[in-house]
């Protein structure tokens, strides 16, 4: 039995008087791709933020590699890819500089890139096929290139746990395939990957685990066990998207 790398025990998060996530329990093993599935407003983003230690917990606790979240941030363990809408694409910053920001946690306090940082950034750009685009301002990229820029930052950060918030929203099929291929490679290197999505069509093809969210964690576990019509119906409040099963 593997040790779980992400562990939630009875986690409750609330905003003012509205409860966003109630009594959530979860274990995700190292070296797996876990899909977080739920409707918009079901608490997926809250779950993400709770795992990243960005939410005050009303109750319960979050453990990353067996340790409390507050001790984790110093160690570059968690890498986060924001939703496309959450990024200011007019920001005066180049692809290269965004990827270099993945290295800040390893640099001295002036954040002066060393040779090794430059090498890792270049390698990350290569792996995400962004060579030749590195001096573009980020707003001048296509949807897929934008996603790959942040994926490259994640690679440069060399985090053990990678969280992707709606990575397939607004990208074409080719980019989606490329992202999935890269994620599978990363998983095979022992990384743990969490993906939030409301697009169910290809969950079963690449996720090892599925986590069903609707104000709490309804079920989690191996995709084959959890990704059933009954469970999906519970997650989506009684309706199953057509043609899924």
């Amino acid at each position: 039995m593997q040790n779980p790398t992400i562990e939630l025990e009875n986690v409750t998060v609330s905003y003012d008087r509205t409860i966003a996530l109630h009594g959530a329990n979860l274990q995700v093993n190292q070296g797996s791709i876990a899909g977080i599935v739920g409707m918009n407003g079901s608490g997926k983003s809250t779950l993400f933020k709770a795992i990243m230690g960005l939410e005050k917990l009303r109750s319960g606790r979050v453990l990353i590699q067996g340790k409390s979240i507050n001790k984790i941030h110093q160690r570059n363990l968690l890498a986060y890819i924001p939703q496309t809408e959450a990024v200011d694409w007019d920001f005066p910053i180049s692809v290269y500089d965004v990827v270099m920001m993945g290295r800040y946690g390893y640099m001295n306090c002036l954040r002066m890139p060393r040779e090794i940082d430059r090498q890792i950034v270049t390698q990350s750009l290569e792996k995400t096929q962004l060579i030749g685009l590195e001096h573009r301002q980020i707003g001048e990229l296509s949807g897929g290139q934008k996603k790959r820029t942040f994926l490259a930052r994640t690679l440069a950060q060399q985090g053990e746990i990678i969280l992707l918030d709606e990575p397939f929203a607004g990208v074409d099929v080719k980019t989606e395939k490329a992202i999935i291929e890269l994620l599978i490679k990363l998983r095979d290197l022992g990384k743990t990957i969490l993906i939030s999505t409301h697009d169910l069509s290809n969950i079963a093809t690449f996720c090892d685990q599925v986590i069903l969210v609707n104000k709490t964690i309804l079920a989690y576990g191996k995709t084959a066990d959890v990704f059933t019509p009954e469970n999906i119906s519970r997650t989506f409040g009684g309706s199953v998207p057509q043609g899924l099963f």
């Binding site: 960005l54 941030h73 570059n76 005066p92």
Partner: protein
């Protein structure tokens, strides 16, 4: 040719003009660098709030004979904390909380000025006193300029990341709470320094306009900072000269020039100007 030469050299025979030029450039440069962060972070309104909220602090500091910077800093920070508290604990939205707090603080400052027995000139606090800066104030401005430039230099990359993607900043171990207050402290200090030249009303122009002008000219942050500084030095120097020759308000001249510069750039900028975008 000789007339132009005269136009620039004649005022320099006065010590107060040399000092005014020096201080306006010094303050302008810090404001310009800071304005790049504020415009990208979306903190323009926050700058507006802090600049007004420092008034009671400045007045009290005069009264108690303590450094103006200290008084301004306490009230500037206090206003931001109060805005945060109102936003977090009540259903009042942020823009309303900002408007509510800074006007309240500003009004308190007006009451204090009229009640405290001192010879504070409200007009100097509000609109600056560039041509009559006292030696103590000159030293204070230089000290503030050094502190803020060093802080902005050391933390420039962290602050940039904090503006761009605070969640990533936090996940790689940067202390985002510290960066938030650092930016705020630099803001409060800069406002105190700028109070000398343009006053607390127009300082907001110094903190928004150069960054916005530069933002329309480039896609690179370092270049944006340099352009903001150049535009500020240009308007500060020319504005101070204009105020001498026209016998007009220095603060007014500097800010009007900055605004004109922004309008020109807004129309003619090569990539983001109105003409280029048509």
């Amino acid at each position: 040719m000789d007339i132009i030469w005269q136009w620039f050299t004649a005022p320099l025979q006065f010590q107060f003009m040399v000092q005014a030029l020096f201080v306006s450039v010094l303050v302008g440069v810090i404001c310009a660098v800071l304005s790049c962060y504020l415009t990208l972070k979306g903190w323009a309104l926050m700058g507006d709030a802090v600049s007004h909220a420092v008034l009671p602090g400045v007045v009290l500091a005069y009264g108690l004979q303590i450094p103006l910077a200290l008084g301004a800093f306490v009230f500037g920070l206090g206003s931001v904390l109060l805005i945060g508290l109102i936003k977090a604990r009540t259903r009042v939205k942020e823009d309303a909380a900002i408007g509510l707090v800074f006007t309240g603080f500003f009004a308190l400052g007006l009451v204090l000025i009229s009640k405290l027995p001192s010879n504070i000139d409200l007009m100097h606090i509000l609109f600056g006193n560039l041509l009559g800066i006292s030696p103590e104030n000159l030293i204070q401005t230089i000290v503030i300029a050094i502190i803020t430039s060093v802080a902005l230099f050391i933390f420039r990359k962290d602050l940039l990341l904090f503006c761009f993607d605070p969640i990533h900043a936090k996940s790689i171990g940067l202390n985002t709470t510290f960066l938030y207050y650092l930016l705020l402290i630099i803001l409060a200090l800069t406002i105190v320094a700028a109070q000398q030249t343009v006053g607390i009303i127009l300082v907001i122009a110094m903190l928004i306009t150069p960054g916005s002008t530069a933002y329309l000219l480039t896609d690179d942050f370092d270049r944006m900072t340099i352009l903001a500084v150049i535009s500020t030095v240009f308007s500060s120097v020319l504005g101070t000269y204009l105020s001498y020759h026209l016998d007009a308000s220095p603060a007014g001249c500097i800010v009007v020039l900055q605004t004109l510069l922004f309008i020109v750039v807004m129309i003619f900028a090569p990539k983001y100007g109105l003409i280029a975008k048509r």
